[in-house]
Amino acid sequence: MGNVLIYLEQAEGALRPAALSAITFARAVHKAQGGKLLFLLIGDNVKGAAAQAATFGADGVLTVEAPALQHYLAETYAPIVARVAKEQGATLVGGTSTAVGKDLFPRVAGLLDAGLAPDISAVLAARQFRRATNAGNVYQTLEITSPAAVVSARQTEFSRAAAIGSNSPVSAVAPGNIDAQGAEFVELQTQKRDRPDLTEARIVVSGGRGMKDGKNFAQIEQICDVLGAAMGASRAACDAGMVPNDLQVGQTGKVVAPDLYIAVAISGAIQHLAGMKGSKVIVAINKDAEAPIFQLADYGLVMQWEKALPELLSELKRIKGA
């Protein structure tokens, strides 16, 4: 049926956590279709990440390196993924549906004239995948019927793979002609945070519109710091400018699935629920007992955040200190 080519994201010489989820997805899809399992890394220097990727049992790790590939651009990366897929006889190409994956894989699919199964949550067969649609309210089964298939996997649905200590052969592939087609990376505007990334945290504490003001999120930050948690927010809170938009959890923001999700002053709009209802344990703190969030919370506390958060902080400090 052909080989499996999985693009692994890397940064600063190491695989990104999303790449470890990509490897778990890779194993599932490789089991379903057979052939060779190949990993692909692209960048200006990916040797460290490639050495790491070689320990996960793939048949081969391919690297494409050039100074012009330092910053990800769909215009330069997609032709490389598509060309390597053809050269390697890969009939399934994929990775995780991060911001990069969501930008990259449809362009790769366009170049390969292949069907795309985007943001899937499960591999059902070699060409059949399940994915959530309609703000997480429908599970859809898709089949790709084109000779090649492109698939992106939702990071939170595939756990991080463990290395098996293999020593897969690593080989360099020539970058070929790199043409950005009129696109240029200018800069990344980012806020450095000491807390874990939203999509990778074991605990997430989110605030909603009911927090009223951005400065009140300091109380959520304090709780995050005690718990080692990531801070999130509802779309309403982001739209109101209380916190940066990259903290948004929901259909239009990030999908998270931590062990514990604490929703503070979030009523529970459909589009927010779509981003967090895969969490293992959900806690809702809201003054309105009728808020929709309570319909899926494992533990609901009907209380104003102004009263609940200081109490929660001192309780947590007490047990963490003990």
Partner: protein
Amino acid sequence: MKILVTAKRIPDPGQKIKLKGNALDLSAANWQLNQFDEYAVEAALRLTEDGAAPATRQGAVTVASLGPADVQQQLRSALAMGADKAIRVEAKDEELDAVIVAKTLEKLVRRDQPDLVLMGKLAADNEGNDVGQRLAALLGWPQATFACSIQVVDGGKALLVGREVDNGVEIKKVRLPAVVTVDLRIIAPQAVKNGRTAANFAYPEGPRYASLKGIRAAKDKPIEALTLSGLGVSTALQVKTHGSELPPARQAGKKIASVHELVEKLRSEAKVL
């Protein structure tokens, strides 16, 4: 600037989802313009007008959709907002996939040669997030997805686009012609800078409402009707939907009386602390 905006009609996301067998039952759906596409129409209008004097438009905005005759309603609403003309390509929703849609748009682009294709970053029903990037690949054009800001630069030859990415906002420059897909914040008061509207001009938040005058004018604006076969697009599906199901419902849990009790439950019962 000549802009092609693509628009999809979707069932009202607020409606309860019903299944008939293993397919979505859309018989009672309230169809509406996909919100992200509505935002793309708004962004296109902001790019082609002086915000302080919106009647003095420069450039042209065409809105295109694939779908049955009913889609005219959504196209008329985009025309009422201020778009100049519309194109409807006859198709049944269930006979389309992203490959067919992108190839259809490719034909329209090659025929009409817009400077920019604008669309929503995804349709809020099937959440494919596929067509824009695929279209850019077919055309060999640069792409800027998930745009939260657009600034016209280089004397109208390029765009500086702010993109929502996982860890912040990426600024990407794309030469025109290009494909841009828009995210929610594109309708913020100062998200679109066309170099003509005064730099300190602020729009009201959100897409504009159609004025009565706009609604009347929309009735006289042309909607060109095309077909897939007329455009020479193959209708073989590469992505098939085999069925839909509702996810298992999550049970509401218990109400807790105090913060102390909550923390104890999380420790001893849920074991997550």
